[in-house]
Symmetry: C2
Subunit: 410 residues, 2 copies
Amino acid sequence: MKRKDVLALDRADPFSKKRKLFKLPKNKIYLDGNSLGVLPKASIARVKHLVEVEWGQDLITSWNKHGWWNLPQVIGDKIAKLIGAVPNSVVVADTISVNLFKVLSAAITMRPERKVVLSDSGNFPSDIYVAQGLSRFLTGKVDLKIVAPEQILEAISEDVAVVMLTETDYRSARRHDMQAITAKAHSVGALVIWDLAHSAGAVPVDVMVCDADFAVGCTYKYLNGGPGAQAFLFVNPRLQQSAVPALVGWWGHANPFAFSLDFVPADGVRRFQSGTQGMLNMVALDAAMDAWKGVSMERLYAKAVKQCEMFTELVENQCGEFGVSLYGEHNFHQRGSHVCLQHQHAYAVIQALISHGVVGDFRAPNLMRFGFTPLYTSYVDVFDAAQHLYEVLSKRLWNKKKFLTKQSVT
Amino acid sequence: MKRKDVLALDRADPFSKKRKLFKLPKNKIYLDGNSLGVLPKASIARVKHLVEVEWGQDLITSWNKHGWWNLPQVIGDKIAKLIGAVPNSVVVADTISVNLFKVLSAAITMRPERKVVLSDSGNFPSDIYVAQGLSRFLTGKVDLKIVAPEQILEAISEDVAVVMLTETDYRSARRHDMQAITAKAHSVGALVIWDLAHSAGAVPVDVMVCDADFAVGCTYKYLNGGPGAQAFLFVNPRLQQSAVPALVGWWGHANPFAFSLDFVPADGVRRFQSGTQGMLNMVALDAAMDAWKGVSMERLYAKAVKQCEMFTELVENQCGEFGVSLYGEHNFHQRGSHVCLQHQHAYAVIQALISHGVVGDFRAPNLMRFGFTPLYTSYVDVFDAAQHLYEVLSKRLWNKKKFLTKQSVT
C-alpha cells in the first residue's frame, strides 16, 4: 500500500467535504473521537450566541425565545434518525449512567415477578455499577447476573426481567446481534436495554427493526456534542405510556408550570426527563448534529470498516514482530468503528505515539485503542498513524523513562 | 423616598464594584436572577477558551491538562465557603432532582426500619416529585408525608426516616429554621436533607453549625453559573463513609480507570458523582464563582434585606390601591432574597412590566416574583422597578389583549 494510492482514496471519498465542517486539532492525527469527538465549527458560533445573546441579553426569556425548553426533544429527533427510532421516542438529558438508571428502574417495575438483570462482562463498567447500585438499594429484589458476551443468548431464561447490554464493546469492538438477542428476550417475556455509546454515529443500528424496549447512548463520542454533553435515551413507543422511571422530576411532569404537588408523568418519552438541563452543552450538541444531514449510516460504516481493515493490515504487516497484536473482533462486518491493539507496554507505547502527534488512548491493562470517525478521519490519517506506530515500535521510542510512568488519569 | 437619595445609597455601597464583573442586559432592570443569574464577564472568556483551545485543540488530554476531571470538587470547595461547609464535602454534578434522588436514596437506606419521608407544601414541586417517584418505585417501603411549613417541627416524630425541606420558599420567601428543625430531627433519630436552591448565594446558611446531614442546591440562580449549570450536593463528613446512593456510576468509583466490574465507592463526597459532566456549563460556573471572592454573606444579605424592604415599602405606599399586596414572609430577617406580590391579573401585569424593561416572573396562580441579587442589583434598580410597577398599575397598562393570554412557558 502506497501513500499516493491512499491520497487518491481521500480524493474520491464523498465524506471528505464533511471533514471541512470540523475544527481539527493542529499537527495531530486524532484517533480518539470515540472518546471525545472533535469540535464542529458550527458549535463555536452557536455557543458564542448562547453565551453572549441568549444568556447575556435575553436571559430568562430564552427558554421560549430561543427554544431552550424544547431542545431535549428537538435534538432527540435528530439522533433518532441515526438509530432507526421514530420521532418523539428519543430525548436528550443527563448522563448515560443517570439515563440507564431511569430505564432500568422502569423496566424492573414492569417485571415485578422476576429478579434477574442480565448483563455481560464486556459491558462498560459504569453500566454494571448502575445495576449494582440499584440491586444493593433494593436488597434482594434484584440480582445482577453477568456472563461472558458469547453466553448471553443461552443465558436469557424466564427468570430474566431485563437484559442490559452495550451493543459495541468499548475495548474489543465486538458487536452484539441486537435483533437476535432482543427477539430471544421477548420470547421469554424479558425486556431489553441497549447502550449505544459506541454505536450511535458509528455503526448502523435500527432500534425499531429489532424492536428494542429501551436504549441509551452517548453524544460526545461519535456525535461530537462536546465534553460531557448530555446523553440520549430511547423508549419504544409501545412502552411510553406504561413505563415510569424511579427517578422523575419537573421536566417530566405533564404540566410542569402548574407547580402542582402531585407528579403526573408527561405523555411519551418526555417523562424520562427530570431536572433542568445545561444549555451550553445542549446547544453545542444541537449545532454538532447539523453535520449529520444527508449522511447514510451504511455508507459511513462502510468507510469505517475500510479504515479499520487498512489500519489492521498495516499494523499486522509492519508491526507484528514488535509484540503488538489485534485485540478483539477480527470480523470486520461485525465490529464497531475502533481497533484495539495489545502490547505488553501499551501505556508507554501510546504515550510515545501521542508525543508523535497520533492520539489514541490506553485502556487497562495492556490495550491501545484507536477510534475511526470517518466523518472527519481521512484515509491518509489512518495510513500515517500506522507509520508512526511502526516508528515508535521499531525504534523502541516508547522505552524512555518519561513514557513508562502511568498517570492517574489517561 | 427620593431617587437622588437612592443614588447616594449606591455610591456608598461596597458591592457596587462587584456589579462591574457582570454583563448586565441592556435597557432592562433584571429582577429574575433568582431564576437565571446574569452573565459574569469572566465566564465569556472561560467558555471561549474551553471551546476553542481545550475542546478544539487539546481534546481528550484536557481532562488532565485543563483540570476537567477535578472541577466538580474544585467548584464544590468554592461553593462550600458560601454555605458553611468544610472542604471536600461539596461536589458539583447533575441536576438538583438527580442529586436529591441520590441523597434521599442514601438516607432511606440508612434508616431501614422507618417509612416516613417528611416534607412540606412549600417545597419546590420537583423535590416532591423526586420523593413520590422513589416512593412509587419502592411500593410501600416509603410513605411521603406532606404538611404545612409551620407544622414541620411538630410533625417530626420517631417514625420519620428523613426530613426533606427547602430552606427558602420559592414563592413566599419564608425561611425555615434550619438549626431548630435539624436538631429536632436528630433528637428522634431522623436524617435531614436541605434544598438550598434559593438560599446559596442569597442568605447566610451554615450547614456545619446546624449539623445538616445532606444538602443540595442550584448554581444557575444566585451563583450565576449559566442556564442549567450543574447542581451541588453536600454530605456531612460524619456520613461520608456510610452513605451510599442508589444511583452510582464510574465517576463515583474509588478507582474509575481500573475499569473493574465491581463498584467500590470512592472515599468522601466523590461517591455521589455518577456519570461524565458537561464541561461547557462546568467551566462557566467555575469562572462565575470568582465573583464571590471576599464576599461576606452576612453583608450581602443585609443589602438584600434592605432592597426587599425598600421595594415592599414603595409598592405598599404607591400601589396598594391597585389590588396588589405582599405575599408571604413579612419579617425581613426571616426571609429570602426575593419578594412575591399577588394580583388578580398577575400574569398580565408581569408581561406589561417586562415590556417596560423590568424583568420579574410569574408563578401560578396569581403571583409576581422579584428577585434581588445584590451582587449586581443596585438600589436605584429597585427604586425604578417600583416606579414602573406603579406606572403599569395606575395606568392599567396590563389591561391590553397582548398581555392577557398566557403562554405555555413563562
